[in-house]
Subunit: 194 residues, 2 copies
Amino acid sequence: VPKIVDHETRRQELAGAVWRVIRRDGLDGASVRAVAREAGWSPSALRHYFPSQSELLAAAIGEVTARVDARMGDFRTRASADVESVLHELLPLDDERRAENEVWLAFSARAMVDPDLRTLHREVDAALHRVCEWAVAEITEISGKATKDFNGSVEADRLHALMDGLALHAALDAEYTEERLKKTLSEHLRSLTL
Amino acid sequence: VPKIVDHETRRQELAGAVWRVIRRDGLDGASVRAVAREAGWSPSALRHYFPSQSELLAAAIGEVTARVDARMGDFRTRASADVESVLHELLPLDDERRAENEVWLAFSARAMVDPDLRTLHREVDAALHRVCEWAVAEITEISGKATKDFNGSVEADRLHALMDGLALHAALDAEYTEERLKKTLSEHLRSLTL
């Protein structure tokens, strides 16, 4: 009986190996060779799944989005009171989220100079933007502010920029503690209701 | 007469070459070899000034901060009415500032995995944070809000995160136009006075 290769399962296994290498050695360490070693594959077998380092990074980002999705569930069905905790899933508040954040930022930096990664970056970023749009809409619906002098599109941009800026600072400065990140987000959300 | 080598002038010349290579080929292209070629030096002569790629990047960041400083002047002496235009110097609103932004983000990503760059990153980031602290203090002084329910330290974190988040989005998404960046910042500053 010929062995049936489950392509998708292999891809996921390999994405897990990419993830472990990036966490351990940083993005620069995630060469096809290093990931092959981690997975116990030959580099040439690995290239069958990921022909280039760009595709390795794309797989790592797939891993990040799968993790975030699994934690958040369908945020659109969440209660307005949950807005803050949904947004917490996107901030580096524990080791898992810190690793996701570092991979995301490294991927973003690479996407600036690698057109192959730009489209995927845009897609993930658009998904994050939709979470921010939802959050702003929910909060202002509670506060009734949406009917007043309020621009939802600008507010979504503002929240999204705040989230990514906090994530960037947290990745580089240990003084951005979990408490400080939460406090800053919390004040921002509160200001939307004033 | 022995030739007097003006070390500092040479360093500045070389920093200019680093800057040009990064703008043209991205950070990954800024090897010691490539910068030597750009400057018309031998790689070994270049290594006398910049022994490693980390030192090249540090020089590029020195170039960015010198440019920003030259444009901003001493922001502390600026009038409160100038707060927004001072902050504009830090956003990627034209080609020069876009290049500075890309170098800064690439440097930030590298600093995540390169301890040699972390200290310099921290210093520059602290300087940016002081600009945000000044901006928040000036604005709230005008509005008289500082005396009320207002936390200057949280507001500086919020403004700083917003600025860096906007810069990150602008570097990766052409839909973040100059107008959109200015509008978002402007709304944020306005919200501080309400």
